[in-house]
């Protein structure tokens, strides 16, 4: 399942990434495989989304969230 499919309040654990280049950026910012993520809220227009991961808040676009595979 992709992170972009979650609704606010739902959570999952990061398993893998489908985009190599973006995975480096995401991991540097704390999104590691095995880490728990929770979708906090959507922006007023539904995109981007704010997630909580590794003890802080991150925002990213839905198409970027779709490279994060969660379980």
């Amino acid at each position: 399942m992709k992170l972009s499919q979650l609704n606010p309040g739902e959570r999952g654990t990061i398993v893998a990434f489908t985009d190599l280049e973006m995975s480096v950026k995401l991991m540097e910012m704390g999104c590691l495989p095995g880490e728990m993520v929770e979708v906090e809220r959507f922006a007023p227009l539904g995109d981007p989304i704010a997630i909580r991961v590794a003890g802080y808040q991150l925002c990213l676009r839905k198409n970027e969230a779709s490279v994060i595979i969660i379980s």
Binding site: E28, M29, L32, P33, E40, R41, P44, A50
Partner: protein, 704 residues
């Protein structure tokens, strides 16, 4: 005293790095440039103890040594290149104690460069509040470096930090972290031979980004050869390195951090977010905040501005009364003092605008604005990140265009740079304020919102709308080079640091007065000369004509003769001739030759408008040049019709011209520096001037 040791501050964004920098250096800092590139270099001096002085360099915040934007690439360039003039003796890595693991990723990369390093854990007070306990001694022992806990906001731990920096040895003591040699052993080995180093990690980094380091450009071919022969895959190895480092950090941090409730820090922030980024209220609140800011710029600044205006009028009158009459006095008072008055008067408005921008950034609200606006901005070919340069452009396009470096995507960045100067900057503010006060009555709507403030906000909205429209068009014309992305940290809401706010106000006002001031004073002097002198035969004729008139008439009419003479002189001066030359082009816009002079001087810097008007009308009014610019302009009449010159149509047309035209040499220069080609500044100059002419023409012809 020995020469100061060089210290570089390195850390993730939002770790309080700049706060620490300000604390260490106080007002003893200056902003320069790194050679060859235009990244701001913030340098300050700090006394570590009575005998030891340190030069502190504040490097841009970054999450890793692999740069994602131009701003971040400077960090690696300074740290890895021993020939770089800013290369430090000691690196101070500042980490957020409430989020240690992610912050230590950068530390572990920096430490592997084998430069003496010191780790500062900031926000220790917040960590304690959230129930995070960090065993500093254990961490220090495991990393092999000094670790100091501080709270930059509450200023605790600073003395300890200074002492630790003074105690740092000249040899690197850090324990080697994750083994980097295993990632690309053979290639690393060859690079080590090539550049004569025994540092595995430096060798690996050089494989990744040698092209960014000047000292290694002559070995470009050798590096590329090594990369090819060992199938060096940059992204894959970066991912592997990041994972290896996090694995190493997990073992380092086990038993060091005790976390009893890290989620606590979000409770308060979440409550604010549910209101401020609310689906329905979010945008209304944002608009409300903007309106409040503009209202404040108008109403709060009114009193100090009046005071400044009157002081300069008094000063000019006082000077004329007490100084010996003559050319030098006229130059001083009607040239320099009038120009100076035109600069000093903006200080209150600029200070207030920057105070608000700094508060919005400091509290974390600006990041939310970025978050909320991304989807809209993307429709126009921009990204949420373009919002900050655009809001910054409300103050000045020059630093904002430089701040667009944080936009990773090339196309997003170019479009942001191209449209930023369309957003009304503080230099237009005095033009708007002056013209609005001439053409809009000072009345209140609903009893509390001033109509003039609404008109001002209207001008800003028009400029933003124009910027978005141009972005939308450019989105189709410019081809994308790479994928755009928007991954950004949302910092928790915090109280603004008032000292920081005051510092920003002081700093920006100072920069404005000294940077813009130089240009304006120079223009004022040149202008005064051009407005006071003309081809000698013309001036002689005028002198003769009026001498004869004066003999004929009796003394009561001398003052009107004086005024006519001054006006005729101005019209025949070099400035007047220039103004007359362009009059046919600008008459359809509703301007006369005097406004023409102001347009010409404004092409260097638009803030020269008010000063030019002040100078021209001072010269024009001859002997009785007391009274404010506003009074002088409101009585000005059109030479062709005899009606008041500043009608609604002319005023509005003029405001539109100033809103859209590219009248700022500094912006042209900075766009050239940022894009490294004359193509973009040339396009910008052409499209903006064209847009300004057409918009003003349409407005005047419809409204007149």
């Amino acid at each position: 005293m020995a020469s100061p040791i060089k210290i570089a501050l390195v850390g993730n964004p939002n770790t309080g790095k700049s706060t620490l920098f300000n604390l260490l250096t106080g007002l003893n800092q200056k902003i320069g440039n790194f050679p060859g590139i235009t990244v701001d270099k913030k340098v300050g001096f700090c006394k570590l103890n009575p005998t030891l002085q340190a030069e502190v360099i504040d490097l841009p915040g970054t999450y890793s040594l692999y740069p994602k934007s131009r701003d971040e690439s400077i960090v690696f360039q300074v740290l890895a290149d021993t020939h770089n003039s800013s290369h430090p003796d000691i690196i101070v890595v500042i980490a957020d104690a409430t989020n240690l693991r992610r912050n230590l990723l950068l530390y572990s990369q920096v430490a592997d460069l084998q430069i003496p390093v010191l780790l500062v854990l900031n926000m220790m007070d917040m960590a304690k509040k959230e129930g995070i306990n960090v065993n500093i001694d254990k961490l220090s022992e495991r990393l092999g470096v000094q670790v100091v806990g501080i709270s930059a906001r509450s200023k605790t731990g600073l003395d300890q930090l200074k002492q630790a920096i003074a105690n740092t040895t000249t040899l690197a003591t850090q324990v080697k972290g994750a083994d980097m040699n295993m990632l690309a052993a053979e290639a690393i080995h060859e690079v080590k031979e090539l550049v004569h180093t025994d540092n595995d990690y430096l060798a690996l980094q050089l494989l990744h980004q040698h092209e960014h380091l000047e000292s290694y450009t002559h070995q470009y071919e050798q590096f590329e050869h090594i990369e090819r022969s060992h199938h060096f895959e940059s992204s894959k190895l970066q991912a592997a390195e990041t994972i290896a480092r996090y694995r190493y950090l997990s073992t380092v941090l086990s038993g060091v951090i005790e976390d009893t409730g890290a989620a606590k820090k979000f409770v308060f922030s979440d409550k604010i977010d549910s209101v401020l980024t609310n689906r329905f209220w979010g945008f209304f609140i944002f608009l409300g905040i903007l309106l409040f800011v503009f209202n404040a710029i108008f109403s709060w600044a009114a009193y100090p501005m009046e005071l400044i205006e009157e002081s300069f009028v008094w000063l000019t009158a006082f000077g004329h009364a007490h100084l010996p009459a003559g050319m030098l006095t006229d130059l001083m008072l009607d040239g320099v003092v009038a120009g100076l008055g035109g600069i000093v008067i903006f200080i209150p408005q600029i200070a207030i605008l920057f105070a608000f921008i700094s508060i919005l950034e400091d509290t974390g609200y600006m990041a939310r604005v970025t978050f909320m606006m991304d989807k809209i901005m993307r429709k126009f070919g921009l990204s949420g990140r373009s919002v900050v340069p655009m809001i910054g452009s409300l103050a000045c396009a020059v630093p904002s265009i430089m701040s667009a470096r944080t936009i990773e995507n090339w196309k997003d960045r170019i479009i942001t740079i191209m449209i930023s100067p369309l957003v009304s900057c503080s230099a237009r503010l005095p033009v708007y304020t002056l013209l609005i006060s001439l053409i809009i009555p000072n009345q209140k709507v609903f009893g509390f919102i001033s109509m003039q403030a609404l008109a001002l906000m209207g001008m800003y909205l028009i400029s933003i709308l124009a910027a978005m429209t141009v972005a939308f068009v450019m989105n189709f014309l410019i081809k994308a080079k790479e994928k755009s992305y928007f991954i950004m940290e949302l910092p928790v809401y915090r109280m603004p640091r008032w000292k920081n706010v005051i510092f920003t106000m002081y700093d920006k006002a100072k920069t404005f007065v000294f940077e813009a001031g130089k240009v304006i004073i120079a223009i004022s002097i040149v202008l005064w000369v051009m407005a006071s002198y003309g081809p000698s035969d013309r001036f002689q004729k005028i002198e003769q004509k009026y001498t004869q008139l004066e003999i004929k008439k009796d003394s009561t009419q001398v003052s009107t003769i004086e005024r006519d003479k001054a006006a005729e002189k101005l019209e025949n001066s070099y400035a007047g001739i220039l103004g007359h030359t362009i009059e046919p082009v600008i008459r359809p816009l509703g301007y006369d030759w005097k406004i023409g002079i102001a347009l010409i001087t404004s092409f260097a810097a638009r803030e020269a408008f008010v000063g030019t008007m002040a100078t021209i009308y001072s010269v024009d009014n001859g002997a009785e040049n007391t009274g404010t610019i506003r009074q002088k302009m409101s009585v000005a009449t059109n030479a062709h019709t005899g009606l008041p010159l500043f009608t609604f149509a002319t005023g509005f047309s003029l405001m539109l011209f100033y809103a859209f035209a590219m009248q700022c040499m500094s912006t042209v220069a900075v766009v050239y520096r940022e894009t490294k080609t004359w193509k973009w500044p040339a396009i910008q100059l052409a499209y903006m001037t064209g847009l300004a002419y057409v918009a003003s023409l349409i407005a005047y012809q419809l409204l007149k």
